[in-house]
Assembly symmetry: C2
Homo-oligomer: 449 residues x 2
């Protein structure tokens, strides 16, 4: 029987219904265990105390933000303490002179965006979950998004961290990693090591983030293509011609069909793929229209008017809810060398046909990051098994093309085997050694990543 000395801490949760809600993220089908309790710490000291107690009694700790993850990284293990960091949501500092912010992990991505925008600044990482997901969760998974094509992923914005760790230091020690300066090479880059480590090396309690000046006016360019090959050619032409859109998204026929069936936007039935781009200069917008046209687009549209731009992006925005009407979605997240996006899309189609699984694909095409969405009619167990087989086949094909099993969602529970295949035994041995060194008790999110 666990008897944590935490019972007097404000926010300790043992109510089964609340615990159940805090036991999983949004990954369909990833197994979730039953936690011993959950805690909503208010301060680094709360986290330190929890980690000390858990270490003393060998209780696993599963940190979580908003629970919007798609790989089961925040799913509870049996008997664990869930650390729900959503109440540590203070923006500690915004420093416009040095283009940085210091935040607690529970700050919601969009809340930070708004706060820094009010000071004329910009925090670029924009995962689709940004209205709900927390900076701590974004750091744990090294979240990407649309504009990372031009502006990079979460890791590129993390200058420093405060992490409650164990191992080489006493469990419960708050260690400051990184810096406040724009550059710095003193010691190993443990900050980058912690970013994307999915809570397996410690609990992040404070984050120092790099900011950028507010972006200029953005334009939108959309193109409709008669086939995936033409759309892929358009993406390749953009790269060849040195264009630098801030986002370059692809949606396939299955996505377009689902949106059209639901909203009747008038999407032509002969449109097999659509590319949607955000641009920051008129030269880039001109260049994208030319590249789309030269690659065989049926039509292109552009706009710098924000309402029009929103309308042009409607198909992208509506894809996920349109597909969710059809059944639970299993979201893939493979990334391939960007020139191989058309090849990968063709292989995904084959996999869908082979397993009789409906697959619709959104891709951050400019990055080579594809999100095949596997749809299963509710309650159909055979469809579920087929979808899981298709999911594994997609991973195989991505690895076959020199790709990675996860571009931005993280390994969590769904991609562990895939990750081990991708890394190979040597790199995996090095990873395991780092984990054992920094968490010899294996209490930080055990069994993940």
């Amino acid at each position: 029987m666990v008897t944590l000395g935490l019972v007097d801490l404000e926010g300790l949760i043992t109510d089964p219904a609340t615990l159940a809600n805090l036991s999983h993220d949004e990954a369909e089908w990833a197994p979730a265990g039953t936690p011993f309790a959950a805690l909503r710490p208010r301060s680094t000291e709360d986290v330190q105390r929890a980690v000390r107690e858990c270490a003393a009694q060998g209780v696993p700790i599963v940190p979580r933000g908003a629970g919007t993850g798609l790989s089961g990284g925040a799913n509870a293990t049996d008997g664990c303490l869930v650390l729900d960091l959503s109440r540590m949501n203070r923006i500690i500092e915004i420093d416009p002179d040095n283009l940085l912010a210091v935040v607690q992990p529970g700050v919601v991505n969009d809340d930070l965006k708004k706060a820094v925008a009010a000071r004329g600044l910009w925090y670029p990482p924009d995962p689709a979950s940004s209205p709900w997901s927390t900076i701590g969760g974004n750091v744990a998974t090294n979240a990407g998004g649309l504009c990372c094509l031009k502006y990079g992923v979460t890791r590129d914005y993390v200058l420093g961290l405060e992490v409650v760790m164990g191992g080489p230091v006493e469990y419960g020690t708050a260690v400051k990693l990184g810096r406040r300066t724009n550059k710095g090479v003193a010691g190993y880059d443990l900050t980058s090591l912690l970013v994307g480590s999915e809570g397996t090396l410690g609990v992040v309690t404070e984050i120092t983030l790099r900011l950028r000046p507010a972006p200029g006016q953005q334009g939108t360019v959309v193109g409709a293509f008669p086939g995936l090959v033409e759309a892929g050619e358009a993406v390749a032409l953009c790269t060849k011609r040195g264009l630098q859109p801030a986002a370059l998204e692809l949606i396939d026929r299955a996505c377009l069909q689902a949106v059209e069936d639901w909203k009747h936007l008038g999407i032509e039935p002969d449109t097999e793929a659509m590319l949607l781009a955000r641009t920051e200069t008129s030269e880039d917008a001109d260049g994208l229209v030319s590249a789309f046209t030269d690659a065989g687009a049926v039509w292109t549209e552009r706009s710098t008017d924000s309402a029009e731009a929103e309308a042009l992006f409607a198909a992208r925005r509506l894809t996920y809810p349109a597909l969710e009407r059809l059944g639970p979605l299993l979201t893939e997240d493979v990334c391939v060398p960007r020139s191989l996006v058309p090849v990968m899309l063709a292989r995904i189609e084959e996999i869908g046909a082979k397993h009789s699984v409906q697959i619709a694909t959104i891709a951050h095409a400019g990055d080579g990051n594809l999100h095949p969405l596997l749809i299963t009619p509710p309650g159909d167990d055979n469809a579920r098994i087929a979808a899981q087989a298709a999911f594994e086949d997609i991973i195989d094909q991505a690895l076959d093309l020199g790709g990675t099993v996860t571009g931005e969602h993280g390994v969590g529970l769904l991609k562990r085997d895939g990750m081990i295949r991708e890394l190979g035994p040597d790199a995996h041995a090095v990873q395991r050694a780092v984990k054992s060194t920094l968490d010899p008790l294996d209490i930080f999110n055990p069994g993940k990543a």
Copy 2:
């Protein structure tokens, strides 16, 4: 007596004169030991064999590139094997479709720049040593340069590495880290951990680099200021107004004086500081001229003509050789939050006066990265001692301002104490644990970083 099974390897060097040349980098005053031998491997297999042999006999390995380092990171330790990687200088692949290159570590930075430019591409990191320094050396120190203000440092361009490692794998195993895709979050980011690790975790034998499209035409803006405060204010205004120059350099009165005494360019004696910027848009150039003027510049000049631009940058380019005429230079490399550059410059002046040491400062002002150059008359031992004291004082003041002891040159031998002070005991303990795990025999560049 060491009896490495390496004697039949082509390129093994035991000639004392050559060994002496391979025993140190360009850091004045960093101690260098006497190697047992040196090897110029031609392949990963050569490196693997050397590492296996050295591990079996406990011989330390000191990897080096071109030896242009400024912190003693490549200095030999007694009885070590120097691994001179300059002959592994093949560009294995340039892939314009996926904006990446794969290179051996001995490729010279400028050679890579030229090769990718011929394909319409750009490898941005531009340390001052780029005509000589190798990509492997740049990776070891996470080298920066001028354009990292806008385009980031070496780490931002390293997608993947092949590293001959030990510890969790058998010594001599070539481990592939990272990826070829633009994004990827499978496992811990060991690639970033290795970048900047100064050869202490293994020997990098292959590097997969991210490339960018060739940059557009660059312009140059120069401003002369009556004081450091005004120059600092100009830098702050650039940040506040969201300007994004590709480089923003500052040189102080002592630099200007040395250049003027040597080349008689006609630099006005009342110019206390000069700012030199590279810009990529006319809006940024206009903005910089306004910011310089508003902050109190005595004069400003701008040009998009490349010959004129070179002339405007002459003072920057000539500073180092002009100062070297005055005596050996000890190059500092502190980095402070960028808004504190004027404060740091004032403190450096005070330190120079206190120790009667002549200090001239070049700064990557936009990044907050300062290179105070400490000059000592040749053969003057007291001046040397005073300079070393000033060097330590500068480190103290940078730390006091929330800065780092090394912005881009690396820790090597000269900054070890400073690094430990900066990290604090907890972060240092974590660093040491990572080192012991990945190199339990302590044979990879022992005693460094």
